[in-house]
Structure formats: C-alpha cells, structure tokens
Amino acid sequence: MNTVFIKAATSLENSSIQKWKENGGKIVGYTCSFMPVELLSAADILPIRLRGINAHSMEISDSYYGPFVCSFPKAVIQLAGTGKYNFLDGVIISNGCDTLRRMNDCWRKMGEDIKGSLPSWLYYFDVPHKPDGHAFDWYVNQVKKLIATIEKQFDVRITEEKLNKAIKAQNDVRKMIWEIEKLRSETPLRITGTEAYSAIIAGTIMPVDEYKKHLNEFIIKIRKRKKDLAIDKKKIFLGGSICDDFELVSLIEKSNAVVVGENICFGIRNEKDMVCETEDPIKALATKYLSASVCPRMMGWYKERAAMIIERVRKINADGVIIQNIRFCDLHGSENGLLERDFEKNSIPSLRIEREYGPLTETGRLKMRVDAFIEQLKSTNK
C-alpha cells in the first residue's frame, strides 16, 4: 500500500500542498474533469481538483444549497465554509451539472457571510454539452478566454511552449496511469483497486513532477510482486457518479472482490486518451477534454459511452459491474438505468446502487448489497 498516495488521497491539506504554498506557489482549485489542468500547470500554478472528503456535516452548506441536491458540491461548500479551502488562490467552476455549477452562486454568497471562505479569484468555465462543431469552437474560445484571464490574474504569460511542456508532462502521467490500468488487467493480478484508485486520485492534488516520481516508483514496486491478489475473488468494474473517496473501492474489496477498473471521472479510459502533441495545443486540449466518452452530461452520446464501457468490462474480464450514483444525481442515476438494461442484454451481471456522498456513513447498507452481489456472482459460478 503506497502511503504517499493514501495520504494524498485522504486529506485535503497534504504535504505537497503545504510545501507548494511555503515556496510561494499559487494553487487554483477546479471542479470537473472538463477543465484542462495543463492551462494552470503552464502558468506554474498547482491545479487541484476540489474534493469533498472529510466533510462531516452539512449545516453551513444547507444555508445556501437547498434540499434535494447532490451532496458532493455541498460537501465542497461545507469544507470551504469551515476554512479548509482558505489556501486556494482561486477556483474555476465549470458546469459539470446544475448542482455543481450553482457552487458559483453559493460560494459567493457564503463569501459574504464567512470572511475569507471565498478565494480571491472565482472563474466560471462554460463547457458545452456537445463535443463537436460549433460547440467545439465555443469550448476552444472558452479555453482562450481562460488563458487570458489566468495571465491577467496571476501576472504570468502562458506561452505555446509552456503549454506544450505542460501537455507533455501530463501525457507522461497519463501513460503511467495506463501502465497501472494494464497491470489491473493482467493475471496474476498484482495490484488492488484500492491501491490503483488512490494512486489515480492522488494525481489530482499533487504537483505533476512529484506525482510522476511517485508513480514511477509505485509501478516498479508493483511489477516486482508475485502474489496473485485475485484468487478466490470476484473481479469488479465500478462506474457512475464522481467518487474521490477510495473508501468506496475498499468497501467493495472487503467483500471478497477486487476492483479492476473504473468508469468514473478520474484517470483515463484507454491508451488513446491523451492530448495530441503534434497539433495546436489549444485545439489538442479541447479535443481531449471535450469528449463525450466520460460523462452523461454529454447528452445524446449514451450509445457510444455504453459501448466503450462494455468493451472495457470485457477486456479486463470483470465478473460483474457495480454502477453507483450519488442520491439526486439524475444524470448518472438515469444512465445507470439504461446501462443496467444493456449489461443484462450483454449477459454482464450488474448491481445498481445509490449512495450519499460523504464519509461513508452508509457502509453497513452498502456492504450488504455488495456482499449479496458477490455471493450472487459466486453461486452462478461465473
């Protein structure tokens, strides 16, 4: 178990962030996988994906957000309200979904009430719900606007050279994550889902050079292992709503299972999931980031997403799929309904569960369902 990754994945203010700040570096948070992190790295700003982990109550959040909404952005607001995000020099909010985009409104209002809880720079990054044509052009334009704003706000110049450098560094990371994904599809299986997932999440809150170094060491260590960790265990593929808490993966793995892959908005889908390094960097970033393959917010692309997920499930020989959604997430909630139907058509056993985001408060309930699913897989001798 790699403690560096576990530590990074389980706490907001990890040592990398502290060190960065001590060296006078700027940190900007972002909400969603549709925001090209390379733009910030190219400005020598540390991009960190906003997390909601360790939010133990929602009373601050409840003053701004109403009921009937996803608990993930609520958790982020709660943390911000208690000062946990005071180290941020800025935040970029994109419209991953309605509830997430309203974080813009709620955070600013909270900033009026709780001094210091609102970062000095808050920017709204408007992502289209389609990946092509005029939507693609709109997105390219949004990227250009964001670059101009970052330059002005932080008094930096994001040159094409710097952008290319940032793209290369992030692609190196993507290649290493792909190595990890390949390890997860091998027999003997030498890496657990918990290890892999915590490694992937850690990358969203660590400076890229430091991350690359740790990833490299991690991969070398895994490759030296001999033991097959999948013996007597069922292989599970996990999909659905955002999950930046690897405890969910751990919970599944405690039920005699091993998680061999995810379709959650972290990590990469396949080896082609890179930014092209030979094209104009802005267009290349737009092509990779504005993709319909990840998220149900890209409406009208379900068939392509389902096909990709089914292909991945088959390639890694998963015994079953667990698809989860955070309560009130209509996007994943409904897409999971369609996926369940299509998994059945393709003879892939699946379990659909709904959960609350937060310190896994429903472990008993979730564990029972996962246990039952694994028992079901075992009894049908898959």
Partner: protein, 467 residues
Amino acid sequence: MRPELKEYNLDWLFASTFSVAKNLGNSSPGEMEYVFNYIPYVRPLLKPLLETGKPALTFLDLFGDYYTNIVNAKENGKKVVMTTFCFDPCIFYAVDNLLPVTLEIGTALTSLAWKRGTTDFMDYCTEIGFSETGCSSQRGAMGAYLAGLGAQIDLVALNMGGVCDTNANAYNFAAQYLDVPYYGLDYPSELTSDEAREYHHQDYRKLVHFIEEHTNCKFDIDQLREVLEEKRKQDDLMNEIEDMQRLVPNPVPGIYHIMIYAARYIYSGQKKFTKMLEEMVEIVAKNAKNGLSGLRNGVEKNRTFLVYIDNYSYGIALYEWFEKKGISHIGNILSRTFAETAPYTTGIPGTAYRIDTTNFDTMIDTLADINARMPMTRTIRGSYDAPNMWLDDTLSLAKIYGADCCIYLGTPGCRNTWSNIKLLARDLEALGYPTFIAYGDSFDSRVETWDTSEMRFEEFYNIRGLL
C-alpha cells in the same frame, strides 16, 4: 402498471375529453352540473375554466384539436416529435408532416384532471430505470409514452441542455429507451453576448437540418413565415394583457395565466391560440375600463408573484385558493415571452427577441432567439444574480406588476432552482418582498398533499400580514 391503465392511451383520453368538453358551452348551468356529477375529477378543472366563457371554449377546442392530431398522426402520415414546454413549437408547425407532443403539458393536465394524477406513469419511469429523483414534470407523461400508451414517438428534439440537466436528461433517456433520434439545443450561461447569440443561431441551424433529415421534408418558407407572423400577433395580444395587468386592481383573471402559457407551449403560431387571446383581451379590456378586478369576488387584497411555477394538483387548487383569499396572481416564470414589444423588456440590447420574417435566415435566427428566451432557458441558465437572470428578472417583474410578496413552488427534482432558491429568497426578503418557499411537488401530490400545502400558505400569508 395497473392493467386498467392500459385500456386507453393517455393522449387519446385528452383528445376525447377536450373535444367533448368544448360542447359544454351550449349547456345551461343545470345541465353542466348534471354532467359534472359524472366527471368528479375533471370538474375541479373544468368548472372554473368554463366560468371564463369564450376563452375556455377555445382553450378546450384547441387542446382537443392538438391531441386529436397527435392521436391520428400516424394514420395521417405525420411524424411525432417529443419536446419540452420551453421549446417554442413554431418550427415544428412549419413542417407539413410533423407534430409536437409536449410532455410537461401532458403531466400537468393529467395531474389536474385525473384521480391519481400521473403517479402510475411516474412510477413506471422508475421501474424502467429512470431516476426517481428526476423532475416530475416530465416523468408523468413520459411514463405513458414509454409504456406505449400514447402516440408513437419518431424523434426527440428540445432545448434544455445547459439550463436544466434533469429535463434534458429525461428526454435523452426517452430517446435512448425508444431508440429514436435525439437533438438537444445547448445553452451557455450567457444570454446577451454576441458569442452566445451566434452560438444559439448555429445550434438552431443544426436543429433545422436534424428535422429535415428525419422528416424528409424541406422547410416551407411561406409556411414558416405564416406561423411566425401569427406568433407576432399572439405576442402583441399577450403584451396587451400583460400591460393591463399593471393596473390596480389587476383586471386579469388568475386562471388566464395557466390557460395562456399552456396553450402557448403547444400551439404557438397556430390560429386557435390567437383566437383565445383575442377573446381574453376583450374581457380584460372590459374589466380594465370599468376598474374591475379579475378576481371572481372582485376584491383584490394581495398581489402575488410566483417566482417559478404554479401547482397542478387537485384541479387548479392553487388558483381557487387565490380566488378565495382575494389574491391576484400576477404571473410566474412561465408567463413571459421577452418579445421586444413586451411591457417588461427593458431595451437593453440582447435581452429580448425581435421577429424578423424577411427571409429564411432571419426567421431561423428569430426562432433561435425566441427559444433562448423561453422560460427557464433565459432565466436560470446563469448565476442567479447575474444581469437578466433570476434575481434581476424577478425584481423587475415584481416591481412592474406591483407584487406584495413572492412564492416559490416547484418540484423536488429541480436541481437547478433548489441549488439557489435560498439565495434568491434571501435577497428578495432583504429587498422588501416576503418570500415563501414551498416544499411540495407541483405535479405529484404524494410529496405534499394540497391540504398541507394550503395550510402552509395560510400560515405564511397570516404571519406576514399579507391579507
């Protein structure tokens, strides 16, 4: 789903009910009461409706036509496109072999006129995998269509991307479930910038191609012009009513709001809607001339602005309660068009639309602009406190129409508004408008029965001394 629900298609029920109901115009009051005995659940909708006189008969007539056409679509060689209420259907009526069916209207009507509302159909959606927490406005009628209890759907086209995830997602789900082509217009958070306008225009052109592709029909430019000119007439008539609504007492009967916006969403650009508006203008003008209130008992005690939608359970119970209490309903988010000729548009460039029927291009641009200013599509696309967004619009409209207080009514599925209603309500209160947040579901009385909702409204109005 209970077997008895599979006896009749939902749209057939509407077609037959409304087509027959319009004949009640020839009945004496005694005859009407006799008929009402046999339709105890439609009565709460029909009785107050018929009291409006001619506009009611035209309303029933146009709804009867609308649903009859949908029921007979296939037989008549027409395709049916499933769409949303905040999508102006003019474009569909400019194509010979296409008819729109709007889900939310179907859900509202079923909630208003049926004993159990649309709960069975809503539950059916959940049974087939749709998220139970999705907005109930789509889930009602959607359940019927997905269960095959309605006209066959040939394509899905709408405009809620970027504005309302749960809405766009519902239609997307329906399209996938039925395996039919889908096109969704997409909206950025900006409204008035040139870039946004350009984006709307390009997006809409792709919609036009989509329609042509899937109906094998080229747009008839003359037909489109005719439809848009009819819409212009309708805008002018609605503007007249809106203008007169500023008077104290308000001469517009509260029920006109739901009649106007319901008919507008399904029959924009069609002549019978124009006829209904003309009949309404005549009545409102008469009230205005005589200084009369639109309320039945004639005494206006309060003017309430609904910042979001109305309640559609138990036969327009909300309107009836307003009548009982002497509360003048001065509209909600669904009531406005934002035509540049409207009394509430400010002349700030980009906020309103202009109808330009010069050529095909200008007409498509017009339609794109109209759609970008439909309810929700305009008001809740960006930050609530951004210019021309929810707070701005609410304050302007509340001021223009002399609101004494504001009410928020919606559905638990509305992720968008529930994520910022507390902020809006806080600002409205600070600016002098007592604001009430209702926690019920406008389409599903299983969440909060009307009795309980009414109790809570009473409490609000009493405690805040609003009556």
